[in-house]
């Protein structure tokens, strides 16, 4: 178990380094940070003055290792545009993104697991087809459009929910639904498939034969085993939600890490972009690693495979 974990960790670190190196090179190659920082009304003289002042005239490699050295000691530099430490910015924005991610994941699971169970109980029935359609709709609907539709219905016409901002828990309802609905099909299909397989197995037949109540058979014995793959998928999807919330955060004016990433990319605020890419790739990798470890823990067969 330990050596498995160690090998995965090493691989994870390598991935993080590669991702951050590639991002740095591509960002600097795509846009001149001096021009982006100087802004629309700047003259060439302004831009050159900024280039020298901020050290943009050094080679990519020097700039990258400069940054990496700092990052390893927790020093992520200062935002070019906000003139504040990047670590402070991230800490300010992280709670909103985490809240959104947790709520979105909860919504996705709360919707997809019951749907999956219901579908598995009567495979290929109208109920099954309906459950499948409902969940596939989540993946088919463009998130942007779905979010705007919800805003119009619940925010403008019915006035049930606030439209933008992150002041109260109500502000997170629509964004969580918009973000979470996208992940529903995968969870639902996995739950359904897992339940169908488990319900057909011997130990369930034994449980029924023993006279256990149907609810107990379903939830205590069947679902518990069927959701093991769902748990590990959830870990990975959580990483996706944390990293992929740019669109949702922008639409609902939730000032989280996703929105910060979008702003920083469009303004070429390279230290912030680098730090966010590092953070999100770390999230993904840690969560994927956790998913693997969790799977291995829950299902001993995986450890020796």
């Amino acid at each position: 178990m330990l050596s498995y974990a160690f090998k995965r960790l090493l691989l994870a670190l390598l991935v993080v380094l590669t991702v951050s190196g590639i991002t740095f090179t591509l960002t600097n190659a795509a846009i001149d940070p001096a021009k982006a920082l100087a802004g629309e009304s700047a003259t060439m003289a302004d831009i050159e003055a900024i280039r020298k002042a901020y050290g943009f005239d050094r080679s990519y490699l020097v700039q990258y290792f400069d940054w990496l050295g700092g990052a390893l000691t927790g020093e992520l530099g200062e935002s070019y545009r906000m003139r504040r430490p990047v670590s402070v910015l991230l800490l300010e924005r992280l709670p909103v993104t985490m809240t959104l991610g947790v709520c979105a994941l909860s919504f996705a699971l709360l919707l997809s697991i019951p749907l999956g169970v219901v579908a598995a109980l009567k495979p290929n029935s109208p109920v099954d087809r309906l459950a499948l359609s409902l969940s596939v709709l989540g993946q088919a609907l463009p998130t942007f459009w779905f979010a705007l539709m919800m805003i119009i219905l619940f925010g403008v016409i019915l006035r049930w929910l606030p439209i933008s901002g992150s002041d109260t828990w109500l502000h997170f309802v629509m964004p969580s639904v918009a973000l979470g609905y996208y992940a529903t099909p995968a969870f639902m299909r996995l739950t359904r498939a897992g339940m169908i397989e488990v319900l057909a197995s011997d130990y369930i037949r034994t449980a029924r034969a023993k006279g256990l109540r149907p609810a107990s058979v379903l939830f205590k014995h069947a679902l518990r085993n069927a959701v093991i793959p769902v748990v590990s998928l959830a870990a990975v999807q959580f990483g996706f939600m944390l990293g992929g919330s740019v669109v949702i955060e922008t639409i609902f004016a939730l000032h989280g890490v996703g929105f910060l990433a979008w702003e920083s990319i469009s303004r070429s605020d390279i230290p912030v972009v680098q730090a966010i890419v590092l953070l999100i790739s770390l999230f993904y990798i840690v969560l994927t690693l956790l998913a693997d470890l969790l799977n291995a823990y829950l299902d001993p067969r995986i450890r020796v495979a």
């Binding site: 021009k35 982006a36 629309e40 700047a42 003259t43 060439m44 302004d46 925010g155 403008v156």
Partner: protein, 507 residues
């Protein structure tokens, strides 16, 4: 397309069914809730580059002189009078009895400190061209200063009206841009009570605001500004009564919002001028565009009136000179006027040897439909344009690299009402210069190095005549900004695209 339909549907539904409770609620709380699309990363006036930063500055800080928003004349503010001692030296008398929000008294020390600090390149103020003209500033007595420019700088007073605000010397020396961006202190009509950086700003009317300056006491007590990056969300908030004021509303959305009873829409002309630039100096590999007849043909091929009427709307006007009509030196009378005449365009192309047209890369970043409209006109006269639509920064980079034979761009001149904020930038020999005309460069240099208005006008007129004769640019139109706000608000837009929140009140 879909989202426009959706917004239209809801606007229609509301127009029929809804009466506005929430907007009235905010009026009763004496709080104006404003939405901005772009974040002001650092509200320190010298460390941000967007227009919203200027709006913020005008509420919290003051300039030495100001601009009357209707007449565009220079009027006293923190300075009560001024005179040019020589063509590089401006002497100013300062207003007495002014206090900063933290109780510090305003005097010559603040002016000397602020101007010397911002003009020092080591302090890395972002818009260097706003401040680099200053050589040094000296205190003559407690309420008198002398400002010396490096060279004769006739636009000095213009630059002192908007982008250069006065900071409290003791406070700024202690805290610098970082703290000023989190806890701003100024002399302006509003003081800042809360900042969530880049997210939300809360301001309150300051009862200690000085009398006699260019800004009256603010009428509205509280202002809350939120950054809402998605325009559709802003519109939804306007409809639902979640915000009271928004700007840069797209033209088609403005049309629909006008029909909502609780809202008002204003379409106001701005100083921002759109233009098509051409490579007249052989920088790109497109030989056709180097020929003046080809450029003139393109100028005749585009129906600017139709574009303005159908795509821009509002108070936008066609412009002939490469500047905004109110800018000092912008002489429309000498500009060559290119009327819409496709037949003439085809003839000019034939004369130049391009009867069968030619290929042309066209760079643009503004709304795609504007670029496509322009391309339609070019295609009609036989030219084969290829659209390179990208972000502003990407087009600007390509422009500087010299690979853009034809491009549609615009310039706001930082709201400076003088052509020296525009023409030298694009015709003065920098990488933005696609004309590389030595005469034009000479005239612009002469116009910018004297305070004699007659000499300046003569030189700028010569430059404008040459630029338009040789079609280095085709000036297109002035931009229009659309504002949408609650009908309870007494709001006036201004041509310099600087809403002055301290002037507005409730109806």
């Amino acid at each position: 397309m879909m989202k426009h339909w959706a917004i239209a549907a809801s606007a229609a539904a509301l127009a029929v069914t809804w009466s506005a409770p929430d907007a009235a609620a905010q009026k009763s709380k004496d709080t104006l809730r404003v939405a901005w699309q772009y974040t002001v990363e650092n509200v320190d006036n010298y460390f941000n580059t967007n227009r919203e930063g200027i709006l913020f500055s005008r509420m919290v800080w003051d300039t030495l002189v100001d601009r009357d928003p209707k007449t565009f004349k220079t009027i006293p503010n923190l300075a009560t009078s001024w005179k040019w001692a020589d063509d590089r030296t401006l002497e100013m008398e300062l207003r007495q009895g002014v206090k900063f929000h933290n109780g510090e008294e305003f005097d010559a020390d603040d002016v000397v400190f602020t101007l010397n600090w911002i003009s020092n390149p080591e302090n890395k103020v972002i818009n260097q061209s706003n401040v680099s003209w200053i050589e040094k500033v000296e205190k003559l007595d407690k309420f008198k200063v002398r400002i010396i420019s490096k060279k004769p700088f006739p636009a000095a007073l213009e630059f002192l009206t908007i982008p250069i605000v006065m900071y409290p010397n003791e406070y700024y020396a202690k805290v610098g841009p970082k703290e000023m961006g989190l806890k701003p202190i100024g002399t302006g009509p509003y003081k800042v009570t809360k900042i969530e950086p880049a997210k939300e700003y809360t301001l309150e009317r300051w009862e200690g605001h000085f009398e006699g300056g260019s800004k009256p006491h603010a009428k509205i007590k509280n202002i809350v500004i939120r950054t809402i990056p998605e325009m559709s969300t802003q519109i939804a908030e306007l409809l639902a009564g979640g915000i009271d004021w928004a700007w840069y509303v797209p033209t088609d959305q403005a049309d629909r919002l006008e029909r909502v009873p609780s809202l008002k829409v204003d379409r106001s002309e701005t100083m921002r001028t759109g233009y098509i630039g051409f490579d007249a100096s052989n920088r790109t590999s497109n030989k056709a565009i180097n020929d003046v007849r080809v450029r003139q043909a393109i100028a005749h091929a585009i129906d600017r009136d139709a574009i303005i009427k159908n795509l821009i709307g509002g108070a936008s006007r066609k412009i002939h000179a490469p500047c905004f009509p109110t800018q000092f030196g912008c002489d429309d009378s000498v500009a060559t006027k290119y009327e819409y005449d496709p037949a003439k365009a085809k003839k000019l192309l034939a004369d130049a040897g391009y009867a069968n047209g030619f290929d042309l890369d066209f760079y643009a970043y503004r709304p795609r439909d504007w670029a496509e409209a322009i391309m339609g006109y070019l295609t009609a006269v036989g030219i084969r344009p290829k659209l390179q639509h990208m972000t502003y920064i990407a087009v600007r980079d390509k422009n500087h690299e010299g690979v853009t034979p034809m491009y549609f761009m615009d310039w706001g001149s930082y709201s400076i009402n003088d052509v020296s904020a525009l023409l030298p930038n694009f015709f003065g020999g920098s990488p933005d210069d696609f004309a590389r005309d030595a005469d034009v460069q000479k005239w612009l240099a002469a116009g910018g190095s004297t305070v004699d208005e007659k000499v300046r006008k003569e030189n700028y007129s010569n430059a404008i005549k040459r630029i338009t004769e040789r079609a280095y640019w085709l000036p297109m139109f002035s931009f229009v900004t659309n504002y949408a706000y609650t009908k309870d608000l007494d709001f006036t837009p201004f041509a310099d695209e600087l809403p002055r929140y301290y002037l507005y009140g409730w109806k």
